[in-house]
């Protein structure tokens, strides 16, 4: 039986078991919305207030579930509004399928109404993008998109479908298999390299595991925990690498990099073997490349061959799925030497350099973080926006479950928090979701509060209002003699009141003695709630390594 292109799109989504679709309509995609209306059973259509929000929401959904987030938008402005969301997902390796409508094939290239060359625009920020010009290619293209989005190193894929293709008809057949001569992600690490790495670990005195986002992406958190427990090798993690949790809490962990802990950065600089798992060694982690981990040989495991040797030179490269490599390492059951003197040294560093802050009259954000951590249940999902608030969340929520710390790491996209929180809640409705945002980033996508209301999602939001684009102000404070140029946010409304206008419970907190109790109210609220916390204006995030400086120069004030 022949089926219209628009219907085929809907059937493909069902074949892929898509349960949530972040969609915003427009001229050329009306046929798909029409089919969704009639045949979209099982697919929850979530309409954001802006396509950027929809894309971040799909991203948040993908980050907590591991399944691809799916977005449907119209051509031209609808498509271009997704660009920031796609770039955010791309750099953090988040699986996503973005379906954009396009003007009819015969108008492509004529500057037709609402035409934008979205496959051209999205070229450098997608893992793959496809312009479907023939109805026969439609189902195979969608199959290809879903397959590529989730396999190997995940990433966003964009499928651009002209209106005439949506209106044309053909027999619907969803390919079972996807196979290409070209696209073959590596799965198994090379046995010799895998063995060599283990050999080096058994001969190290001061080995250190650097856990990156690849661990949770590949679903190997449990394996990594087992491996850490078994070997007693201490570990540090990146922003994307939250969620590692060895049962031996005495084993020091800590985050590293620009706002890493003193002892974390110290451990990197003093280890003799760095075992990097699923990290791309971003400049925020490395600081100065030359003086990074100067005493260490480096083992680097990653599924993407292009990441290996890109930013640092590696002694033992292993291209492969972390799961497989960790399984092999655990199976080998290799006796390890006693690393306890080294572990003890890190532990002493930790004890000597705890995270500190001073809570006087004005509320400081670190104190708020501590109170939040106390008030919320342990299986909380933290979703951050970008800036100082993100770094404090990173430092104070040492999340101990995978896929529970959602943050725009690589792109650092302000405005990510609230919409990503929506996606996270839709992906994990049983878990508590707390969005932590600054006053700047919150205002970039705050219209999505309406989406929260509309979808009746009990998302909790905490806005840390320091009246500044705080992170930029901090750089101006430290490196530009306090010339606070372009960073003042002096017309902030009362966000709690704003929330109430939009139908969401809101509360403003200005005094230190209210914080703990307000946080309990936020945590226990059955419905969505926004807590607007007025915090100290000029608090800085420490530890800090200046951009491009050595991790040796981790400053604490």
């Amino acid at each position: 039986m022949a089926m219209k292109g628009a219907r085929i799109v809907v059937e493909c989504l069902k074949k892929e078991k898509v349960d949530t679709l972040f969609c915003y309509p427009g001229g050329v995609v009306i046929p798909i919305f029409d089919e969704l209306f009639q045949h979209g059973d099982g697919i929850r259509m979530v309409q954001p207030r802006h396509e950027q929000g929809g894309t971040h929401a799909a991203d948040g959904y993908a980050r907590v579930t591991g399944r691809p987030g799916v977005v449907l938008v119209t051509s031209g402005p609808g498509a271009t509004n997704t660009v920031t969301g796609i770039a955010t997902a791309y750099i953090d390796s988040i699986p996503m399928v973005v379906i954009t409508g396009q003007v009819p094939t015969q108008y492509v290239g004529t500057d037709a109404f609402q035409e934008a060359d979205i496959t051209g625009i999205s070229l450098p920020i997608t893992k793959e993008n496809i312009l479907v010009t023939d109805i026969e290619d439609l189902a195979p293209s969608l199959k290809r998109a879903f397959h590529i989005a989730v396999s190997g190193r995940p990433g966003p894929v964009l499928v651009d479908i002209p209106k005439d293709v949506l209106l044309a008809s053909t027999a619907f057949e969803y390919p079972e298999e996807f196979s290409l001569e070209s696209y073959r992600p590596v799965s198994k690490g090379h046995p010799r390299q895998v063995a060599k790495a283990l050999e080096m670990m058994s001969q190290a005195e001061r080995p250190l595991i650097l856990a990156g986002g690849g661990i949770q992406i590949s679903g190997s958190t449990e394996l990594a925990n087992t491996f850490i427990d078994k070997t007693g090798i201490p570990f540090v993690h990146t922003l994307m690498g939250h969620g590692i949790n060895p049962r031996n809490r005495d084993l020091p962990s800590g985050n590293i990099g620009m706002h890493g802990t003193v002892y974390g950065n110290w451990a990197v600089q003093n280890c003799d073997l760095l075992i990097a798992l699923g990290t791309r060694f971003s400049d925020r982690i490395l600081g100065d490349t030359v003086s990074f981990a100067p005493r260490a040989k480096i083992i680097h495991v990653d599924v993407d061959p292009a990441e290996i040797g890109k930013n640092v030179e590696v002694d033992v490269p292993i291209v492969g799925d972390l799961r497989h490599v960790l399984e092999k390492w655990i199976e080998a059951d290799r006796p390890m030497p006693d690393f306890s003197p080294w572990v003890k040294a890190i532990r002493e560093k930790r004890l000597a350099n705890p995270l500190t802050y001073t809570q006087k009259e004005d509320i400081v954000p670190q104190y708020v973080m501590e109170k939040a951590r106390e008030a919320f249940p342990e299986n909380l999902i933290v979703v951050t926006d970008v800036g100082q608030n993100q770094m404090w969340a990173h430092q104070y929520f040492d999340t101990n479950r995978p896929r529970s710390f959602v943050s725009s790491g690589g792109l650092g996209t302000m405005g990510f928090g609230v919409p990503a929180g929506i996606g996270a809640k839709l992906g994990c409705p049983e878990r508590e979701v707390l969005v932590i945002a600054g006053d700047g980033g919150f205002q970039m996508t705050m219209q999505e509060l309406i989406t929260i209301r509309r979808e009746k999602l009990p998302v909790k939001i905490m806005v840390l209002d320091n009246g500044y684009l705080g992170m930029v102000r901090q750089w101006q404070d430290l490196f530009h003699d306090k010339r606070y140029s372009g960073v003042l946010l002096d017309n902030n409304p009362n966000f709690a009141e704003l929330a109430r206008v939009l139908g969401i419970r809101g509360r403003q907190v200005t005094r230190v003695d209210e914080v703990a109790e307000a946080m309990t109210e936020l945590a226990q609220s059955k419905e969505a709630m926004l807590l607007h916390v007025i915090v100290k204006e000029e608090e800085n995030v420490f530890p800090m390594v200046a951009a491009g400086a050595s991790l040796n120069d981790t400053r604490t004030s």
């Binding site: 070229l123 793959e128 312009l131 001569e181 070209s182 061959p305 890109k310």
Partner: protein, 171 residues
């Protein structure tokens, strides 16, 4: 990445002949900061196209570029062409004015030059000529440099095609 020891490298890239694949390849190469010296592309067999690109790069970034190219879904194979063991050709057309238009030059000299370079005169009119030369980039560059600049009206070059030789029998 430090741009030390830049030299010209040739990479042969086999891709699925899909719309946009050439722009994907070129955009990737330029985005990662490589200077493209030459590019040629032609459908080879069935559903595939071979793209040959010459870039200025150091050894390490050359390796990076190959790995990055493999991330394009339609890229089937990336083969670096060994500079010591390759066959390279480029073809160029050079349109020149009739030399009698300019003092101290003669067409005879031009024709001799074409002869020395194993070229051909593929078009001849009273107003001027079109020469064709083939060979390495260097050979074509020196041919062009020997023709008085004022005579040259237009140059069209194919960009290089290159292939690795069979391994030699005697070593």
């Amino acid at each position: 990445m430090a741009n030390t020891n830049l030299s010209e490298h040739t990479v042969s890239i086999l891709v699925y002949n899909k719309p946009g694949v050439l722009s994907k390849v070129m955009s990737l190469i330029t985005r990662r900061g490589f200077n493209v010296e030459s590019v040629s592309a032609e459908k080879t067999s069935g559903d595939k196209t071979r793209i040959i690109v010459a870039v200025k790069a150091d050894e390490r970034s050359l390796e990076q570029i190959q790995k990055q190219l493999y991330k394009i879904v339609d890229v089937v194979k990336v083969t670096p062409i060994d500079p010591k063991h390759r066959i390279v050709r480029e073809l160029a057309f050079i349109k020149v004015k009739n030399a009698t238009a300019i003092p101290n030059t003669s067409n005879m000299e031009l024709f001799q030059l074409v002869d020395v370079f194993d070229g051909e005169i593929v078009n001849a009119t009273p107003s001027g000529f079109v020469f064709q030369v083939t060979g390495s980039r260097d050979k074509i560059n020196s041919f062009i440099s020997l023709i008085p600049e004022t005579l040259i009206v237009e140059i069209a070059r194919t960009g290089i095609v290159a292939i690795n030789k069979w391994p030699s029998q005697d070593n």
